[in-house]
Each structure stands twice: as structure tokens, then as C-alpha cells.
Symmetry: C2
Subunit: 344 residues, 2 copies
């Protein structure tokens, strides 16, 4: 019981494959094909469950109905959740997803783009690493629909979906200040990506405004958590005067919690905590950690909407749009120094 081809269908019904193709692609009316014939073909096709070979179709039409999704790391809960939502929306619209993790590695990303291109994906959704500007520009120049998310590339003019990073950290830092914390550190990964820089800036702005001194620790990213925890631990040991710490990403935050546990520090008495990104770890830590929650559903929705839009309107010259979404600041028991002080 091998697969039927359009020729088999045509032979069996004694019509040409052209006719079958027209009917199956909804061009029967346009091509004035007899109603009875259309019905006969439809019936038979349904009966035997014939489905056109998508490879052949893609080869001829140049469309693959596949979207390439490049995240930083699919095992990071933030990206995993986004991927999950994008996947759902894409499938509902007849698109499949090929995804991959860039590890923020420019060379790896370059190869992956080339692979996607080779596979003729119809569109790209990318959380781009630094240094990939030229490759993305070249994609766009060749008319490929590209949507960036989580961060953008200032030198590249294309659509992107981001959150208001600067305001988010500014706002959360202000919260710490208002609670009476004076020595607030900011721990993050060393990165020039837009979202990371904006987050850092938001923190700096808030401190500046209040005449407080910033304490910043930038950690080089590594797959090996030990290499993240070591400098983090050293930093906390060095600055004994800190009364609050702001983590720039969920990953840093998680490593931070591990370090805090291993150092035997008490939250929020020794140290108040706030982290970017929100997930179960922060909710379930004791006391639960205040965190900035990204609107992942809205991000996924926006990304896929923008991309589908680009895929459907063939006109290339619609000006590109930037969508900036708001975050939620979930305040929890990890930074209630002021209230505690009052309660005493």
C-alpha cells in the first residue's frame, strides 16, 4: 500500500493530472471545470485519502509552509514556553516549526540560518545573538520575512517584538528603593544585546535618580552552572554591605538562589531579591522571589501575527513595525524589608 501520486489519481479517473491539480487547489471554478467532474474527483480523493507530496509541491511553488524558530536555548523555561505557544499558533495556521537553539553563538547561528535557508523555510522568528546583523540583513534583502523577538538589532531594519525592559527594571528597582534598600546590586550576564543593556540602564537610572551607588556584576555566560555560580558567589562575599540584589535573567536568578542557599544567607533579612523573568522556581522559593513576568502569550501572539501578516501580504514595502509589550511586576515576600521594619 504505497503512497498514491497525482498521476495515479488521474489515471484512475481518466482525466489529466492538470485537472486534478486545479480542482485540489480550488481553481476549478476559475478554470471552468465541470461540477460533476469536480465532485467525482473530490469524492475519490477523500476516499483514498490522497495527499499531495509536499516536497514536490514545495519544489515547484517555492513555499515550504515551514517557519524557522531560533531561540537562545530551548531548555530555558522562558524560551520553551514561547516556543510552545508559537508552535500552537503556527500549526493552527497550517505552518510547521523547525526550531533550534543558538546558544547566543554567532557562528552557530550563522550555520543554522544557512541550514534553514537551505531548507527553504518560508519565514524566520529569531532571538538574535550579537554580530549576526549582516546575515539577517542579507535574509531580509532577499525578501525573506523575518521577525525578531526578545531583543532587536539596532542596525537592522525589520519587525520585532520586545518588552519594555528599561521601564521594567527601573520600576522594580524603584520599588526596592522605596522599601528602604540602599545598597542594591545588579547581577547579569555580560552582553551587549539590546534587552540586556536596557535592563541594566533601567537599574542605573533608578539608582541615579535616588543618588545611590550602583553595584554591578557581569558574568560571562557558560553552559556550566558552576562557572556562573563561582563569580556570583565571590561577588556576594566581597560586597558584604549589600542589602538587595536584582538578577537580570531567570537563569542568573536561579544560579543566584543556589549561591544564596549555599552561603546560608537569609532572604529578605540578609538580602532582598528581585529577578527578571518569572517562573515556578521564584514562586516556590521561601520566601517567594519578586519577579518581572514577561507576557509570554502576548509575545507569542504578536510574533506569529506579525509573521503571518508578512507571509500573506506579498508586498514587501510595508514599513516594519516594532511592538513593545508591558511586563508585570509580581511582588512577593522577598523584598518586604520596609513592611517588616514597620511591623516591628
Amino acid at each position: 500500500m504505497k503512497k498514491l501520486s497525482i498521476v495515479d489519481i488521474a489515471n484512475h479517473l481518466n482525466v489529466s493530472k492538470t485537472t486534478i491539480s486545479f480542482i485540489l487547489n480550488g481553481r476549478a471554478q476559475e478554470k471552468r471545470i465541470g461540477k460533476d467532474l469536480v465532485e467525482r474527483v473530490q469524492k475519490f480523493v477523500d476516499e483514498v485519502g490522497y495527499k499531495p507530496n509536499s516536497l514536490a509541491k514545495s519544489l515547484r511553488t517555492g513555499k515550504s509552509n515551514i517557519i524557522g524558530l531560533m531561540v537562545e536555548d530551548i531548555s530555558n523555561p522562558f524560551f520553551a514556553s514561547i516556543a510552545r505557544l508559537i508552535e500552537d499558533r503556527a500549526y493552527k495556521n497550517g505552518y510547521k516549526i523547525i526550531y533550534c537553539s543558538t546558544d547566543n553563538d554567532t557562528q552557530k547561528t550563522r550555520e543554522l540560518i544557512s541550514m534553514f535557508r537551505d531548507r527553504h523555510v518560508d519565514g524566520y522568528i529569531i532571538a538574535p545573538p550579537e554580530g549576526i546583523e549582516d546575515d539577517i540583513s542579507s535574509l531580509i534583502k532577499d525578501g525573506m520575512p523575518v521577525v525578531l523577538f526578545d531583543r532587536h538589532l539596532p542596525k537592522v531594519n525589520t519587525d520585532f517584538v520586545e518588552i519594555d525592559n528599561l521601564f521594567s527594571t527601573y520600576n522594580a528597582t524603584m520599588h526596592l528603593v522605596q522599601q528602604g534598600y540602599k545598597n542594591i546590586a545588579y547581577i547579569t550576564f555580560a552582553s551587549n544585546q539590546t534587552q540586556m543593556q536596557a535592563r541594566l540602564q533601567g537599574y542605573k537610572n533608578a539608582l541615579d535618580e535616588n543618588g545611590l551607588k550602583p553595584f554591578i556584576q557581569e558574568i560571562v555566560f557558560s553552559q556550566d552552572e558552576e562557572l556562573i555560580m563561582a563569580p556570583l558567589s565571590a561577588f556576594l562575599k566581597k560586597h558584604k554591605n549589600l542589602d538587595a540584589v536584582f538578577f537580570g535573567t531567570n537563569h542568573v536568578g536561579t544560579c543566584g538562589l543556589k549561591v544564596i542557599n549555599s552561603l546560608g544567607l537569609t532572604v529578605p533579612n540578609d538580602l532582598a531579591l528581585v529577578s527578571f523573568d518569572d517562573y515556578d522556581v521564584f514562586k516556590l522559593f521561601s520566601p517567594p522571589v519578586s519577579a518581572i513576568a514577561q507576557p509570554i502569550e502576548a509575545i507569542a501572539d504578536s510574533v506569529i501575527t506579525v509573521l503571518l501578516n508578512k507571509l500573506n501580504t506579498s508586498s514587501q514595502h510595508i514599513s516594519s513595525q516594532s511592538i513593545i509589550l508591558k511586563t508585570d511586576f509580581n511582588i512577593r515576600g522577598s523584598s518586604k524589608k520596609a513592611e517588616k521594619a514597620v511591623a516591628k
Copy 2:
């Protein structure tokens, strides 16, 4: 600067595309093509960066170099980690991954299989839901390489990679018993899948052996965490005599922790905890939760090794293998009643 085709290359070098194809596919020697010609072609191909159109190639050869990966839910950290590792290994071997989440929904899975098939994926890696036996069998009958993981289908004779679920829960339950816990509950999702049944059985066996009474709560899975937490909470409220709880999956465990927090229960004094699957939430809870860690690297390695093996050996009739891997039981502060008692 559009893409070059093999014809362009052939024309430019004044040889036939057949020759180009042979050279590029490493059949130059076999076809006795002159060394100088081979070099000339190689050089030019490298120079212009020509890459064969993979769609055309797939259409002709019937191979797509794509592996279909179907997990239960890509946003679940267990599956996300496995996916990540499988992705790495696959890329290294020249394969790409198309993944999707089944949600344990048989109908959805059926459609996804059909979609994968339609896309001519070369091989399948599936964490199968119940009721999908016939579809998988039909895949296998048609000669498609299939590897199941995390669970298997007793009625389907194919390769699979699993862990020793029964022993894992048996062992961990015995640990609780030895620590002096008498009323140990087991909370899990209602499921007839092999891994879930085996885990439950391991728990039952341990209790049986010690003449203890089982307390079992099976929860119907839902996307909405509230619908998981509600019955879980009700169960804990109803059975005030429990002194320990065993969670059957990381997801149940996480929901369980949330419920325990909201009920204001103290661990391990009110309740000792153990969960299947290990991840940051369990490590960072206070006190940290003992958990059964699956060897995700080994699982990913085994899965991809078995699949690549099947892809490379065309012979269909190698008997299928079952790989059963061991787990680690990470004992943490959430079940140290006995020790505490001694310490008093």
C-alpha cells in the same frame, strides 16, 4: 544574486550536471572522474558557496534528513532538556529536528504523525500517548524507523528507551519507610501509560512489603493548573493522617508544592516529600525536595544512537531493542524525619 542550481555550475564549467552530482556525492572515484576535473569542480563550488537544493534532493532520493520528535509538552523542563540534547546530537549527525507537543492527545498525535509523514521525515522519536498503537504500528509496517521513549506501547514491537520506573519508586518509597514514615500517599496523573503504571506499582510493592496502607490520588491532567491543585488540595485536607507524599511527576510535584505552601504545611515536619523527576524547583525549595533524577543525557544519547543506527542499517529485520536506564535518587532535607527524631 539568486541561488545557483546544479545546472548553473555545470554550464559554467562546461561539464554535465551528472558529473557535478557524482563529484559532490563522493562518487568521483567510483565513476572514474579525472582528478583535475574533480578539483576544478570542488574549487568552484566552494568559491560560489553552492549548496544543492535539499527539497529537490529529498524528492529524488526519498530522504529528508529530518527527524520528527514528538514530546508530551515542550514547555515541560524534562522534555525541553531532552529535546535540547537530542537536537544537538541530531545536528551533529546531519539531521534536523521538527518537534511538536502531543499534549497526550491521541487525535492530535494522529494528525501530527500524518503531518510528519507528509513531510517525509526520515525517522520518528516519540513519547507516545495511549491509543496511538495502530498508527505507530502502521508507521513501522511501512518501514519507518521509530524509537519510543519515556514510555512504551506493550502491543507495539519496536525499539524504546525507558528508565527503571518501578524500581525507582520502589526504592524511594522504601527510603521513606525506613525513615519511619507510615502513611505515605502517592499522587499522580490518571494514566495507563507504562511509565506511570510502573511508578505506581513500585510504590504499591514497597508498601505491600511493609504491610502499610496505600493512599493513592489520581488527578486528571489539565492545562489549567488550578484544576490540578484543587483535587490535590482536597486530598491533602481529607487525609490529615498522612506523614509523607510521593509525587509521580515533576508537574504534579510542582503543583503539590504550591498547594502545600497555600495550606501552610511545614516540610518535613507536617509532611515529608519525594517527587519523580528532578529540577531546580525541587533543589531550591526549602527544605529541598528529594527527587528521582532521570539520566536525561543518557536518555538522549540512547534515543539518538538507536535511531541513527536504524537509519543507517537499511536491513529492517534487526530485532528491536529495549534500553532501560537507571535513575538517581537525590535525597534531600525534605524527608529526614528519622534523623530529626534522633537528633532531638
